[in-house]
Point group: C2
Chain length 239, copies 2
Amino acid sequence: MQMRDLEYRCDEALLRGHLVWDDAVSARRPGVAVFHEGLGLGDFAIERARMVAELGYVVLAADMFGERKQARNLQEVASLVGALRAEPEKLRARGRSALTALSGLPQVDAGRLAAIGFCFGGSVALELAREGADLKAAVSFHGVLATKLPAVPGRVKASVLVCTGADDPLAPPDQLTAFEDEMRAANVRDWQVISYGNTLHGFTNPAADGSMMRTALYHEQSDRRSWAAMKGLFDEVLA
Amino acid sequence: MQMRDLEYRCDEALLRGHLVWDDAVSARRPGVAVFHEGLGLGDFAIERARMVAELGYVVLAADMFGERKQARNLQEVASLVGALRAEPEKLRARGRSALTALSGLPQVDAGRLAAIGFCFGGSVALELAREGADLKAAVSFHGVLATKLPAVPGRVKASVLVCTGADDPLAPPDQLTAFEDEMRAANVRDWQVISYGNTLHGFTNPAADGSMMRTALYHEQSDRRSWAAMKGLFDEVLA
């Protein structure tokens, strides 16, 4: 397994992602962009990128904040995430630039791309699906499901998979209902939502122990199940 | 693979189920009860029982209507299903009698039972979970999720999995929300709900072509996905 930093740009921003791939394979493979949580691109997203690469894909752990900025506390999370959420077009452009960087790599089959993300990154994957990015799949793990720019009919190409904690205060039941209504209204060809009982925010991250955020807590079973659901979808659409 | 009818009783009713198991295996195995849709125990539930048996379980396709009555039209469905729905205790007793018959078989490990069901049968599996049947798992495929006897705290033993079509008029969004609230309120230890987009009622049944019921339609992808979710749960809890 090979790993290296990969720098790419979006307008004025220098983004420092991390690329993971198996160089024992020579054929072009599907590419998967992994979008980090609100803390920024750190160990967790890089570890997940490695896990996705082990499934046989070329994986870019994207940098959404620029120069791999990382938040040290919730206030910094709010500031970094808030700046992008306030400008959804900018957020989408940032996400898109990761897909462009990924699809330009010699080992990637640009016709078979997917995006996944965690918390904030889940929203990024969904925003890319909404704007019609050329994705086979978009998977959100405990992402916020609300958007300022709802999907419109005929636009979404990705198969959409939402994995959400039934007790996640950042994706409460009414948000879930609204999301499903959005998918229906936009005639999204393929979407599914999995709601995991007894599961809070951040359930895929073993470091989520409730200390930084009381309502973000690792849930091993829901982590395992949602990962299996993602793999199942990849098997379907990236093969 | 062996198959034979298995008769059992519940009060005055003679129930004629169908048993499927692999007799090449000698050790006691988990037992799975399969509950039929509103049409009664026929080809579809028996085929599913065979598919479950191929996963390595001893499977009883239960008979909920007695003497393997089958409905020939929607009116008969309404009459047969309605009679049991009106008496949820009777419905539960009928379901329980299938579990008792199954768990008494020499090839079954009575400590590892599961129940699955389709449409009406999905509700039966959920009713058994609600009343605290000794199940490791209860899986509903396009079942009605409403109940007259909601789950109460401390009662449910089964890991609950609901696979539902997002456009199923028999399990509309408000019913889904109410079900999730029920699971939360009863502190059900393990539950998950998967909502499949663009999917109507009856999505697992290749014979559902909209002719008998406009809103019951086979959906190959959702069938495959929900079956994989069931297998995943069985791997977790019946192993």
